[in-house]
Amino acid sequence: MSSPEQRDEVEMLSLMLLIRRFEERASQQYQAQKIGGFCHLYIGQEAVVVGAIAAIRPEDYLITAYRDHAHALARGTSADACMAELFGKVTGCSRGLGGSMHYFDKARHMYGGHAIVGAHVPLGVGMAFASKYRGEDRVTLCFFGDGAINQGSFHEALNLAALYKLPIIFICENNLFAMGTSVERSTSLQQIVHRAEGYDIPGHVVDGMNFRDVRDQLTEIVNSIRANPHPAFVEIRTYRYRGHSMSDPASYRTKDQLEKYRMDDPITRLRAQLTREGKLTNEQFDAMDKGAKETALASVKFAEESEEPPLEDLYAYTYVSEATVPTAAGAQA
């Protein structure tokens, strides 16, 4: 593949920093009980979605599961709109009606934010079907966790995508645990990527702690799909530093395992690569990190000061306007 601009890599590092600082703030606000419901943090996995974003166009489709804050931020949804959603405010990316697990941003082609494990994988296939139906060369990125691969909907979706040769990349963010159940305790195959073989879909393994590996491998796959629509499966090996959700102390795994992954932190790694290559100074990095922290802090202020959705809106989004539905008068032939 062609070598990307240096500026782009620095920008991507900056995005990873924003995601991490945003999530740290979200964690703090959750503990302060400003955020309700569930809250699943992405800290440790930043290189996955940012690497993927670096490989696609703005108009490509993206859909994911409930650990979705980073995916919206990576697509360009503002930290303000993301934090306001956690606070349940009307300025949130889903008007405060979706919450942490249901982020949507239509303008930026972020199609959610889906909280029933595996249930959105067929939706991703439907989006890819629509691109092929219209003869577009868009690619759909469909993210899910290692917990989703044992759901029936996942298997049906892979078969359908292969059968219809749809332009979709199934991205399994393998962070080794489905909530508290490890892959070895949940999945008959230990190499998740082998699941793709059963559907005659090409499979790839990617190092999810390495931004460049994610970006480069996905770029190659995306190019191949644009040239000739087909599904692909990517197992991205990653790790979440935090528990499954805020209420999970993650006692099912060892400190040693966590430390091992922390030593391989995706932000530290990309920073070191760029610094070594003379593309980033310590001062630049510190300024970016400071900026990310400020943006995250400002988003808390924005969320706090935003309005709640009006009570009058309670029924406003159950059905879309009747305007397009034929009226009684118009229908009586």
């Binding site: 949130g92 949507f104 959610g112 439907g126 079907f129 139906y133 049906e156 359908l160 034929p326």
Partner: protein, 327 residues
Amino acid sequence: MREITYRLALNEALAEELERDPNVFLMGEEVAQYNGAYKVSQGLLDRFGPQRIIDTPISENGFAGMGVGAAMVGLRPIIEFMTFSFSLVAFDQVVNNAPNMLTMSGGQFNIPITFRGPNGPAHQLGATHSHATECLYANFPGLKICTPATPRDAKGLLKTAVRDDNPVLVLESELLYSSKGPVEPIEQELLIPLGQAELKREGRDVTIICYAQTVPLALAAAEALEEEEISAEVLDLRSIKPLDLPAILTSVAKTHRVVVVEQDRPYCGIGAEICFRIQNDIFDELDAPIARVSQEDVPMPYNERLEQAVLPSAEKLIAAVKKICYA
């Protein structure tokens, strides 16, 4: 007016909407090469091609979910379930993804999808294949549900459903596919609004509220009752959701007696909701308790005699009418 079958009426509705809007496509098991398990999609593959008439593997959850995803990005899928008993395999897609998306996304994503296929008991299909699902789906805000009983309603409601910007379930009936009835000439656009009941027969003494498969038996009962000098009004709901409450109240205020005859089971069935609405809004208009005729509350037996004992019938309906008319 010409008379056509319920099956052909649905076929015409599909063809006309496919012709009108290139974003409309039909997907489901056996819809293309086999021409439909019940031949509703007969000839559509030849006319519209494999891009728009799409056979699927037996993966209800998968292809129902594909429909929802395609609808999120602007297509208008028609998803056929070979029977709504099989839609239960896709329940999560129908009740969780399709109707929740608009709210969850703060109004950004409506899902203009039509789920259609036969619903309700047919004939000796046993417990797994005989479900009347309307009461299940009616409990989920965001869905619309219609239950055509005649060829004309089948055509007009299906066309409206395809044009609606919300998820709509068109609950057809296997037992009605071959029934015939008058339908406007093909050149004439036929759209019937959702949420509008129709008086299928006028009467003075009692209102029989019915829908789908219970409409023909309500009409048969009304005819028999006429001979006993009980004049029954037959109100076909046509849509379960939205419910045409004004039409119900108008008829009840006229006859002061009501029997609801439903094709689902009694516990939390459609009739329970209608009874509540009537007594809540016009209690003083009632001259007798509201009666209900429904299935028995048991899994459907295969044996024909027992199956008939489970189902609502004209005889059971006549008995219920007589009881509340003190006849």
